[in-house]
Amino acid sequence: MTVEVPAAKTDDIEIRLLLEAVFRKYHYDFRNYSSASIKRRLAQARDHFGCASFSQLQDKVLHDGAVLRELLAFLTVQVSEMFRDPAYFKAIREKVVPHLRTYPSLKIWVAGCSSGEEVYSLAILLREEGLEEKAMIYATDINPEALEKAEAGIYGIDRIPQFTQNHRLSGGKSSLSDYYTAAYGGASFDKSLRSRVLFSDHSLVTDAVFGEMHLVSCRNVLIYFDRELQDRAIGLFRDSLGRKGFLGLGSKESLRFSKHSDAFADFSRDDRIYQKLGA
């Protein structure tokens, strides 16, 4: 007699094995990323590498480290904008900055900074508010290529009108054109903006707490995690923030489903900015 057990779909089995392989061989852990997004991104990678199946892609990545680097781009790269969601930056400027002014020195963590658009946005905002000199921005990501791009600070000139409009809507006090020079189809952002920025490799999945932060900004990263991993990351933010420190999330992210939600209070609800409760 045979028992009919609904079989897991073949491609889902292959994806689990592929992610396990990437973790065991390279220590990049995507096993708790949300499935729907990772499946779409892996399907794009599979097609890009001309593989007929996820198993073939697994074979390729296990035996060729160069494939991993490209695969990471498929799995992690986020295209953002400078001052994306201007209302968020306006809230940082108008509501959070008055608190930040009261500290003698400032530590800010941009977690999952990708190619750096948000890092430059915050650096410009801090300069406009006269806080740059006493601030240190830690910009982290797991993708070394993204970090290189972030450090270079060169963006397509076609993106500048959007960046400029966002900057203005965010309450920008200067002209964005003060901060970049156009050359060879790219807008190269002023090196001095990076003088208070430290770019480094850090994983929210496998690495530990970071400094005593006054503000952690982590936007549109948590939506790619399952609930368990979201809790890990939010736990890291809680432990990295000093008393009364601020946590800014993406406009569709919240602490609603997190087991750490008790550690934070709503600070600016619509802007998804939270404040860590004092101990």
């Binding site: 499935s35 729907a36 997004s37 779409r40 986020q78 939506i223 406009s251 569709k252 992210e253 489903f257």
Partner: protein
């Protein structure tokens, strides 16, 4: 009347230009105790403050809200994709949002919702393509039918804009072609307790 699906588990709907008018015919027909979840992508501009859910809720008995990341999908609730995010169904039947690039210039994308829902729900899924001016939804509806689900398409000659239902029909000749009123009746019956 179109043939009913055997054991429906969820409904997904895609609409673009003319969406509010079309959904205002369909959704008010669904009762508060509707037995299925309804997930909807409407092409909207990326502004944070979108009134679509409020406008529709005012006309409906069934609960209408914007889908939130990692929310469990419940029967009797209409989930709209938030502006500027893809709305996806996880295999665990939770919602997930994504910020991945636009598909066919659209974020939210109907194809992304339909393909992830087809993957999660399989043969119990009903996919509906309504009025719209591009070909988003065609590929997704194909995925739904290939996974054993059912496809409904608004009769192009009754649509505010015909391109989207026409493209869906071209990709899915076996889909049922219905007027808005017939789609409403079909869905109401599928989700009757």
């Amino acid at each position: 009347m179109a043939q009913a699906i055997e054991k429906p588990t969820a409904i997904v709907i895609g609409a673009s230009a003319g969406a509010l008018g079309a959904l205002s015919v369909i959704l008010p027909e669904l009762p508060a105790g509707f037995a299925l979840p309804v997930l909807i992508v409407v092409h909207v501009p990326p502004d944070r403050n979108n009134l679509m859910a409020e406008l529709l809720q005012a006309k409906c008995q069934i609960r209408v809200c914007e889908g939130e990341d990692k929310d469990s999908i419940r029967p009797g609730v209409v989930y709209l994709a938030p502006p500027d995010y893809h709305l996806q169904v996880e295999p665990s039947l939770d919602i997930s949002l994504s910020n991945d690039e636009a598909v066919l210039f659209s974020r939210p994308s109907i194809d992304v919702l339909f393909e992830t829902a087809a993957d999660a729900y399989g043969d119990g899924l009903i996919g509906v393509v309504l009025t719209g001016g591009n070909n988003d939804g065609a590929r997704g509806l194909r995925a739904i039918i290939d996974a054993g689900g059912r496809g409904l398409v608004q009769r192009p000659d009754t649509a505010f804009t015909t391109a989207m239902p026409a493209a869906a029909l071209q990709a899915c000749p076996e889909a049922e072609v219905l007027s808005l009123e017939e789609i409403a009746a079909y869905l109401k019956k599928a989700g009757a307790r």
